[in-house]
């Protein structure tokens, strides 16, 4: 079954919309509902839509990295975000450091944001790996049944 023209045309726009929304959810998550996990799921839903419209290959080229690599990068980033804590006097792992940037408004930046970003990437990678796997499995099965007829 071929996706409709409307779906194929609107998929990229919806993708960027959902990616923007996911970034908003990610940043908002520090003090309000949201964060890396939810943001990652929102982004993954956009990518899923893209995969349905343009096929799993479209998402693969879009991500550059293999989804598993993306996840690994995310977990690595999250793990690294706890390391600066060791610089402090008897700092315990994952004690986050903060830097309040004065740019007109006070911008609270910290290593916790890196942690959230890592979770975001890990969730996107895992979700994409799972649904691409399912889509390709479905395509392979459809091809197998057509060949049998």
């Amino acid at each position: 079954m071929r996706p409709s023209l409307i779906l194929r045309t609107s998929a990229p726009m919806l993708l960027w919309l959902s990616l923007l929304a996911s970034l908003y959810v990610l940043v908002r998550g520090h003090n309000e509902p949201g964060g890396g996990f939810l943001g990652g799921l929102v982004a993954a839903s956009g990518l899923l839509f893209h995969a349905i419209a343009r096929g799993p290959e479209g998402v693969r080229t879009l991500l550059v990295l293999h989804p598993v690599q993306l996840s690994a990068l995310g977990v690595l980033l999250a793990a690294t975000s706890g390391l600066p804590a060791f610089l402090g006097p008897d700092g315990a792992y994952l004690t986050h450091l903060w830097w309040f940037a004065e740019l007109g408004v006070t911008l609270p930046l910290g290593t916790a944001l890196l942690f959230d970003l890592g979770v975001y990437l890990a969730v996107v990678g895992m979700a994409v790996a799972i649904f691409i796997g399912l889509l390709e499995w479905k395509a392979a099965r459809a091809a197998a049944t057509e060949g049998g007829e």
Binding site: H66, L76, D90, G91, A92, Y93, H96
Partner: protein, 506 residues
Amino acid sequence: MQALLAAPLLVPLATACLAALFWGRAAAQRAIGMAGSLVLLAVAALLLREVAAGGRIVGQMGGWPAPFGITLVVDAFAAIMLLITGVMAVSVSLYAMASGARERDRAGFQPLLHSLLLGVCGAFVTGDLFNLYVWFEVMLIASFGLLVLERTPAQIDGGLRYVMLNLVGTTFFLMAVGLIYGLAGTLNLADLARLAPGIANQGALAAAGMLLLVAFGAKAAVFPLFNWLPAAYHTASVPVAAIFAALLTKVGVYAIIRVWTLLFAHDVAFFGPVLGAVAVATMVVGVLGAAAHHDVMRILSFHIISQIGYMLVGVALMTPLAIAGSVFYILHHIIVKANLFLLAGAIRREGGSFALARLGGLWVGAPLLGLLFLVPALSLAGLPPLSGFWAKLMVIRGSIEAGANLVAAAALLVGLLTLYSMVKIWNEAFWKPAPEGAALPAPAMGERAASYAPIVALAGITLAIGLWTEPFARLSLVVAGGLLDREGYIAAVLAPGATHLAGVVP
């Protein structure tokens, strides 16, 4: 010191991630995996050096004070288990470079192996009951991936049984955690140890304890929750079966020992007989199962179950010598059992099968393999002067001194039956004439070296523990002293600026 404390978690985590970053490039993954295993071993050795005298390293993650945050504690017991995990990681990484490495690595063996090690190390260092649950889940997910690595129907069947039973087990764990939180208002193990004797409703606490026993018992494969183990292990590939046999069940045993010495040490009158009965039943049923089977992997799987019984004797009797015996037994068992599974792989490569009926004549073709098999096999049966003899001696002497003569008698009888199974493998695979059928082509020299090196090294460790027992026995006694010193554990975790929850508890 804080960096060293977090290192047993960070090293496998980083290794798993880096290996996954090299997705699809088997050689690079293998190099990263090997390097990660070596670093883990080094880190564990450093930690053991710090705490060998009986000290404890404590850290509060994120700087949140206990009992609110997540506490990591490394004492002598945790450090020993970490060290042996490191030894196993290096051995299996080396062995996994031999036959089938390419296919395994393409299926994601290295990231999964190190995720499994992450879960195992996490369970060893955590000082928080809920965190322990999280590490159990990490371990379960990674182990499921490893179990179905080759995606054969038999593996999927074994894997599904494994996952189903473990999911039930972890659900029981979660229920117990909820009950205990309701009773004590905290999940920090040290804080729980402090509050447990004073909890008014001891009956409810004991009920939660029984739920925990089911959860940990399913992991440790004790009687009657052991059915998943032979079903799952004999389908796994050899390196996977070796690391499972070495570590997975032992994490369950570790959790039982840790939680029972902290939370239920005041209730030996109730839990002592329960754990003692479970220990004896596990020993006997496991060894009888092994006697009935004629497949190397199945025999070895049933022997894991039987040996778990010995490790529970210490916590059932709660005396220093009995607990030291359990610790020594775990040490000896992990080395010997992993080695036997690696040897089973080597036997299949030389003889072409795991089934005893189709094996034979290996003594002629591979005499070195025969000698290498004898070391762990006789050690498992408990023949002097190998490590198993001293391990059994400590457990049996601990039982007799505590007046548990029935346990001691069962332990002796099971030792005899273990010898029967090991002699059965020896007779069938090595001694009897080779059956009709084509021999396999000899593996390449490099592959043979990679698969024999860990076998020789682990046999060497078994001999070293056997012939030079003093330091190992002394270390076990230090560990037992540390486990029975609840006040010291509580003080170390809750000491400086600790916030007590006493006011909150009804």
